[in-house]
């Protein structure tokens, strides 16, 4: 199953709704290209909604980390929203859960970006 990404704007924050699998190959590339495209347009407040992401492998984890550092390096912020149990557990065991700012409520997440 391939991955899909669609973006929407709420209060200056770009929400990327992802669905499918973020794995080696197409899934990782879609995420990489989406974040690169947003940064290119100067959109640096990015909220990745992973509610419909069923699976992530080591390549997908690497892509999330890479997206996070790219956004931070450009003075922006990237947060994660709505982790499934599988993805939550994976970020826990890789000790990345505390690296990312993870939220489970969209309004709270948007407010957390600040002005």
């Amino acid at each position: 199953m391939s991955m899909k990404a669609s973006t929407r704007q709420v209060d200056g924050v770009t929400i990327v709704d992802l669905s499918g699998r973020i794995t080696l190959g197409e899934g990782s590339v879609v995420l990489r290209d989406t974040v690169k495209d947003l940064l290119g347009k100067g959109q640096k407040k990015i909220l990745l909604n992973l509610g419909d992401v069923s699976y992530i492998d080591s390549s997908g984890i690497g892509e999330l980390v890479s997206a996070f550092t790219s956004v931070r390096n450009q003075g922006g912020d990237l947060k994660l929203l709505n982790l499934t149990k599988k993805v939550h557990d994976l970020l826990q065991i890789t000790k990345l859960y505390t690296v990312f700012d993870v939220k489970d409520d969209e309004a709270v997440a948007i407010a957390a970006f600040g002005k």
Binding site: T23, L24, G25, D57, S58, S59, I61, G62, E63, V65, S66, F68, T69, K86, I93, T94, K95, L96, V99
Partner: protein, 149 residues
């Protein structure tokens, strides 16, 4: 106790093989009576071993193959992944949980294999690397197997 079962495949060095191996692992773990969480862990470990073999080992070389073997002896599920690449020293792979490595893009595959399996062994081939993944069956899974045979 069920009779030992062993099945081997010779896989091309493609992304498609990674996905196929993951699906096969899930099916075989399901037949072994494992629950959904355990199955997910095993198929992820197999996926990571295949990525290691195809991406890092064979480097997508169409002339090189990956041998994938599933073995079930009634007590353990054993998966063996062997590539024909340059080989590597597992102990030299940096710890992905070390603070200085947390934000690295790669280097988590072996860690994930170890996280989801009971035992992970590496053996140097000539050429290549063989990874053996072992998951021991729990008593409840053995009961389910007995009931279905």
């Amino acid at each position: 106790m069920t009779a030992p079962q062993r099945v081997s495949y010779r896989m091309e060095s493609t992304l498609e093989s990674v996905n196929k191996a993951e699906e096969m692992a899930d099916q075989i773990a399901s037949q072994a009576g494992m629950d959904e969480d355990t199955r997910g862990g095993i198929s992820m470990a197999v996926r990571e071993a295949m990525i290691n073999a195809i991406l890092h080992g064979n480097a997508y070389d169409p002339a090189k193959r990956v041998n994938l073997t599933f073995e079930q002896n009634g007590e353990e599920l054993i998966v063996i992944v062997a590539d024909q690449g340059e080989g590597f020293v597992p102990d030299e792979v940096p710890d992905p949980l070390a603070p200085e490595n947390l934000l690295k893009q790669s280097g988590r595959g072996i860690f994930l294999m170890r996280a989801f399996m009971d035992e992970v062994r590496f053996r140097k081939l000539n050429p290549g690397t063989e990874i053996t993944l072992i998951k021991r069956l729990q008593s409840s899974e053995l009961d389910r197997q007995e009931a279905s045979t």
